[in-house]
Structures are given as C-alpha cells and as structure tokens.
Amino acid sequence: MSRLVPFVLIGAALAGWEIMARSGLWSPLLFPSLANIGYEFAQFFSRTDRLLEAWTSLHRALGGFALAATTGVVIGMLMGRSAFVAGLLDPLFSGTYAVPKLALFPIFIFAFGIGSLSKVALVFLECLYPIVIITCHGARGVDRVLLWSAQNMGAARGEILRRVVVPATVPFIFAGFRVALPVALIVVIMTEMVSSADGLGYQVIYALASLKTDRMLALVVVIALLGWLLDKALVVMRDRLVYWEKLETYYV
C-alpha cells in the first residue's frame, strides 16, 4: 500500500493538470491536455533523431559528472584527512560555492568552444562542489575509535586509508554523487537552452520558440524520466557497493 502513495500524488497532480487544461480558463498553448503531451511524448520515442538528441545531452552530463566524481573524491578525501590541503582549498571551495557557475558559461564558450567541451566543463565545475564538500565531510568524520584501533593493531597509514577511511567515507561519496547527478543534467539542459544547436535543451527552446508547449512539456517529462533513471541506477550501484549500510539512513 505504501508503495502506491507516490503514485497517488502523481495521479492527483496529473488530474489537477487535466482539469485546468479542460476548464477553458486558459489557452491550450499554456495548459495543453495530457493527451497532447502524451502524443508528443510517444512521438519522441518513435523518432531516432530525437533519441540522438537525448543521447547528446546524456553523454555531456555523464562526461562532466564522471570527471567531477573522479577529481572530487580525490580532493574531498585529501581535504578531509589533511589539515594542510584543507587549509589550502577550503577557502577556495567555501568562498566560491555560492557563485552561479552558469554565469561563467560565456567564458567557457570562449575557452572551450561552442561544442560539447564547454558544456562538459561547466557540468564538471557545478558537480565538483557537492562531491568535494560531502566527501570531505565524510572523510573528516571517520570514527576516531576505528582509526585508533587500526593504529594499535599496527596498520600502516596507507592501510588505514584503504581499510578504514575509504569504506567509512563511501556512503558520503555516494550521497555527494546523488546530489551532483541531477545537477549535471540540469546544467547541461540549461547550457543547451542558452547556446547550442543540439541536445534536449535545444529541443526545449526550439519547441518554446515554436509555441509548441505540448512538445516542450513532453521533453520536460523525458528529462525528468532520465533524471529518475540515473538516480535509480546510482542507488542500485550504491546498494551493491555499500552493502553494509542501508540507504534509509540517508533520510534520518
């Protein structure tokens, strides 16, 4: 029964939308019916060129995310376990965390060109922050008793890192990934909306410019679906790798 609760909420939201669309109070160009959105949604999956647009966005998002994940985990671990590195990088990260990196996009275009590289670079930068900060928090908060016990048992520094610090930090690393992955998708769609000739963001702005709200909303559903699938895949991966800790602890 509890599994049905989220679907009830989604169903209520969809019903509310359809009531508004059929009320005649608003233009169908503002509130298209679910049937029209559904038709455009089906059209999306029946056309190879549109699926390729999704792939373009996906590979940009995942490319930037993968780079941020690799770099971010290393930096976060170093900041968490080394006072020197933390002293060096903490002011940089905390001082620039709130900067809306999208404002830097024109500079990225000039540095990396108008193609995918500028978008991947911006995704990397946006994703780096949550991964570094959450990983650093996890690495810094490793239980001292565990560290002392390992030391008392004669474990070398590298061994402590590998067998105590890393396993204790992995749940935090995945928490950082879960924050960063939707950010990757959002940033890539936004950059494609601002300046691109391909990708899902471009398709959204194209539909908007054509006053095809139904198609635009169908694309929004596709993006939401992609985000949901990516998150589910990440959770499955996390549950396989971090088998000793249940995901429910995230929500406590």
């Binding site: 608003w26 233009s27 160009l29 503002l30 108008i114 471009y202 410019a209 054509s210």
Partner: protein, 328 residues
C-alpha cells in the same frame, strides 16, 4: 448612540462611492509588452508622455519589458498583457498556433538604402568565407532559434545553396559575444545589429557578408505593434487614441531623432553610451506607422515553403488590421 453608529457607515458608503466613481472615470489601462531594441517611438511614449495628448485621458499605458517573444506571448495568453511589440514573423508564428492577436501598426522595417540600417551578417576579414557558399560546413551565430535573425541566416545560406542544419549549423548566442566569436573562429559568421555593428566595425577585422534585406531579397517588416483581438473589440477607441499618439510620437522621433535619443538615454531606456547611440544608423520607420502587409505575406510563404517553420499557410491579410490607425 444611534448617531455614532450611522456616521461610520455613511462615511464608508461615501468613500466606496467616490472610489467607484474614480475608478469608473479612469481611462482603460493598456498593459503593453515591449522589447529592448529598435522600438524608440514606443519607449518615447513613456519617456516623454507630454508628446502623447491622449495618454492619461483616453488610456493609461504600462510598458513591461520582455527579453524574448515566446515569454511575451505566454504573458498575453495568461491574460497579463493587452498588446505589445513583436517581430512580424513572431506574430505569424503565434497566429499559426491559434493565438488571437492582430498587427495594428508598424514600428520599423529592414530596408535597403544607405540611409537605413539593416541587420548585417559579418565574417572574418582575412578569413576564407567570401560568399554564403563558403559557409558550407560552417556555423552561423544567431541571437535565438526561430527569431528573425535565424530566418535571415537561413535565407542567406539558401541563397548560397547551403542547406541550414545539414550543410551548416545555426548556433544561438548573445549579440555581445558575436564579434569575438567570429574573430576567434568559434563561428564562421555572426549577426550584428546596432550598436554592436558600429562597435565591431570600429574594432576592425570583420567584413559584411550579407544583410537581412539581401538575404530575403526585399524590404520587409521588422517590428510591429499587436493587440489581442478581444481587447481590440472591447476598447476600439482606446486603441485608436493610443495609435494616434503613437503616430504623433513617430513623427516627432523622425523629425527630432537626436533629441529623442537623448531623452530615451536619460530615461534609461537605452544603456549604450550616448555618443555611440547618437551616431548609430537607424532602421527605417514609416511616419504613418503603416504595415507593409505584402512583405509579411512573402515572409510567411518563405517560412512555410522554404523553412518548413509553419505547418499550414497563414492568412496574413487577416492578421493585420490598420483600421485603428489615424486616417492619412
């Protein structure tokens, strides 16, 4: 005791009545969506209200700035706007999608001639692109997808037998970055309007490839004034009064361009440095604000047949109603 109770009630009734009377006497408000370029006469109506004798008497004007056309039309559909400015081709799009709006006056045109400015596509001066044909495999920067700049770029490419999207990319980017993007080879050609055109020409290193007029082959409407059909039916005299003022302001602007530009700059409608703004060439403006309907018709056919931007033909003559303009 009874008197003390009656007094506040009477006061309330008098206040309510006077408020109702004041509201009833107030002229209708026009909620007008404006843009940020080439609409000098429209802005002048708010910057110099003394030039508009009907304003405040037969209508009130509230101008609301929009960055792009889709947002302006969405605001109209949401009932937040009564009218506004928009490129003719954007109104064609909107009509094709069933939006109940009509063009009632012209703001400016893309016209050939040394005395007018026409949106210009430029390439690197020492680059290999000598004609539109050379843009095969290249990228053309436009300010937005399915905008007028997009249409002209596509028209220019087609003139050189280059198929847009297949043989050359159309890439949206802001006007401010266009010059450097061409110079650094990020794009092969860019779209330039004033004041960016003059600024980039002064910097050097760029040369004209074609203008908007050369791309489509004829003078045509750039910006127009539109109103919702319901508003036109409900307030015909209000629209007539508004357009009478608009035409008067257009004539004033054409006769006193430098002073009008100074006033607009002072009022904050224009952020370009004044000395550059005063020197900029201007778009052609019809003093009577008459709409070049034939050019809009040609544009709609081009959008339908060559670009496949429209799914069905649009009856442009049904889309334009010049009956609200003052008689010539």
């Amino acid at each position: 005791m009874k008197r003390s109770r009656c007094f506040p009630a009477a006061l309330l009734a008098v206040t309510a009545l006077s408020t109702f009377n004041a509201a009833a006497q107030e002229p209708p408000l026009i909620r007008f969506g404006r843009g940020f370029a080439a609409e000098e006469q429209v802005w002048l109506m708010s910057a110099r209200p003394e030039l508009t004798p009907n304003q405040g008497k037969k209508y009130q004007l509230k101008q609301i700035l929009f960055q792009a056309n889709p947002e302006r039309f969405q605001a109209f559909l949401a009932g937040e706007l009564d009218g506004g400015t928009a490129p003719g081709l954007a109104v064609i799009f909107a009509r094709a999608r069933g939006v109940d709006m009509k063009i009632v006056a012209s703001v400016c045109l893309e016209a050939a001639g040394r005395e007018w400015f026409s949106t210009t596509y430029m390439v690197k001066d020492d680059g290999p692109v000598r004609s539109a044909k050379d843009l095969k495999g290249g990228t053309v920067g436009v300010v937005g997808i399915k905008t007028a700049t997009d249409l002209w770029a596509r028209a220019g490419l087609l003139n050189g037998s280059v198929v847009p999207d297949k043989d050359a990319k159309i890439f949206p980017m802001g006007f401010p970055g266009m010059g450097d993007a061409v110079r650094t080879g990020k794009i092969n050609a860019g779209t330039f309007v004033e004041p960016f055109y003059s600024a980039e020409m002064a910097r050097g290193g760029l040369r004209k490839l074609f203008t908007a007029v050369e791309a489509v082959g004829y003078d045509h409407e750039l910006l127009d004034i539109w109103f919702g059909e319901k508003f036109l039916k409900a307030h015909p005299d209000t629209v007539r009064a508004f357009l009478a003022d608009y035409v008067a302001v257009t004539k004033y602007y054409l006769a006193n361009t430098a002073q009008a530009k100074r006033d607009l700059h002072k009022a904050g409608f224009v952020r370009t440095p004044l000395e550059i703004y005063l020197k900029n060439a201007d778009w052609k403006r019809d003093p009577a604000a008459r709409v070049d309907v034939a050019s809009l018709d040609k544009l709609s056919k081009f959008m339908l047949e060559k670009l496949q931007w429209l799914e069905k033909p649009v009856d442009v003559r049904q889309m334009v109603d010049e009956s609200y303009l003052p008689r010539q």
